[in-house]
């Protein structure tokens, strides 16, 4: 019989306890905890809508059992920005016209955030590789890549 278990992890900067069913998936835990910014698209690891960051890595919360997050640092789109505190990656996507229906956007932002934290100077090729798991039905990707190149260029130290 499965019983409920308690796990602890840092969610968007706050350490919290969570009661979970042992096999519960991270996306279900996040969404039932009120964080519905993380989207469910395919639920089988192929679309990227559910991407969150765990210890700085972009991972798919729809296939990740929640218990693997125990003791880790989890960041979701709610921990990145909001309408009144827009993150530079979000602003760049808006400015480039890279948001249409917006369903892919939270996952895409989490992939881009993990990439830029690891490498603020990501090359054009790095940008494509690190977004290869984020499907977008609307934009055709060019505007997304333009936006992320703009973030990268703004990261560069100002020339003297």
């Amino acid at each position: 019989m499965s019983t409920t278990r308690t796990i602890t992890f840092t969610l968007n900067g706050k350490k919290r306890d969570f009661q979970i069913a042992p096999g519960e998936l991270l996306v279900k835990l996040l969404r039932r905890s009120g964080l519905t910014g993380t989207k469910e698209g395919c639920d089988e690891g192929t679309c990227g809508a559910c991407t969150v960051n765990v210890d700085g890595r972009a991972v798919l919360s729809c296939i990740m059992p929640a218990f693997l997050a125990h003791g880790r640092n989890v960041v979701t789109i709610e921990g990145v920005g909001d309408f009144d505190r827009v993150h530079p990656i979000q602003q760049a996507l808006v400015d480039a016209g890279a948001v249409q229906c917006g369903y892919c956007t939270p996952g895409l932002v989490m992939s881009a955030k993990a990439m830029f934290e690891e490498n603020p100077a990501a090359s054009d090729e790095d940008i494509r590789v690190h977004t290869d798991g984020n499907l977008c039905r609307c934009t055709g990707y060019e505007k997304i890549w333009t936006a992320l190149r703009n973030v990268r260029d703004a990261n560069k130290p100002a020339q003297a």
Binding site: M1, S2, T3, R5, P22, G23, E44, G45, T46, G48, T51, R57, A58, V59, L60, I63, M64, P65, F67, L68, H70, G71, S111, A114, V129, H130, T131, D132, G133, N134
Partner: protein
Amino acid sequence: MKITDFKIPTRLDEALAALRDLGPAALPVAGATSLVFIPEDQPMTAVDLNRLGLDGIRRDGDAFRIGAATRVAALQKRHEPGWVLDRVALTLSSQQIRNESTLGGNICRVFPWSDFPAALLALGAGLVIRGAQEKEMTADEFFSSQPARLFRGGDLLTHIRVPAVGAGAGFGYKKVRQTATGFSLATAAACLQLDGGGIRSARAALSAAVPFPARCAAVEAALAGKKASEGLLREAALNGLSGLKFKEAEGMSAEYIGRLAAVTLGDALVEAWAQAKEQAS
């Protein structure tokens, strides 16, 4: 997979003891990305392998020693002379899957699309398993059938030894997909060791197109001792696979997949040859 409980050990001996105690109800879990492919049936207790110090890559003489719980992304992002697994890692699914999937998880239970089995067969890797004792086996032994058979008693793969591709040697890896992150229709890996202009030894392996990852003995035999040329490599791939059984896939006949595999293996051999010439001693 129905996970009804979990354990989060922090030492290898603790994990091995938990696996032994649980017996057939134990499920070692590294990246956990395979669970979506395994139908829910038996209740299982997951044993987390991520906190046992089984991750990391280091150079160890003429080889690299890779912890079983090393993420595919770490293989992808390593670049140094002799290291070739970055080329394999980059082709594995999407960045999120590469970030989560481990090398051990990719090979301990082989799926038709698994990328590393063919690469490790071609490279002649060694696999180190820990139970009551430590034992090392060759990739040929490990992949002789589904490796999951080796872990039913509660043993774990702890690390993988991959020879560095050094002077006069080259590695090639190719796969054919319908979409950038899609499953492979044919996967081929090849290693060539040159001796001047001649081929001292060749190793070639296929997966996805065949029922299970396997070496291509007839291709290897047709190359050993010959003078290398692109024509020879492609011909060996085209002629050397006739004894193999190929799978049908997505509306494509087994005959077509066989042809695709031969062309893909030819490409992998040519890539290996190009690197071997570049690294000529």
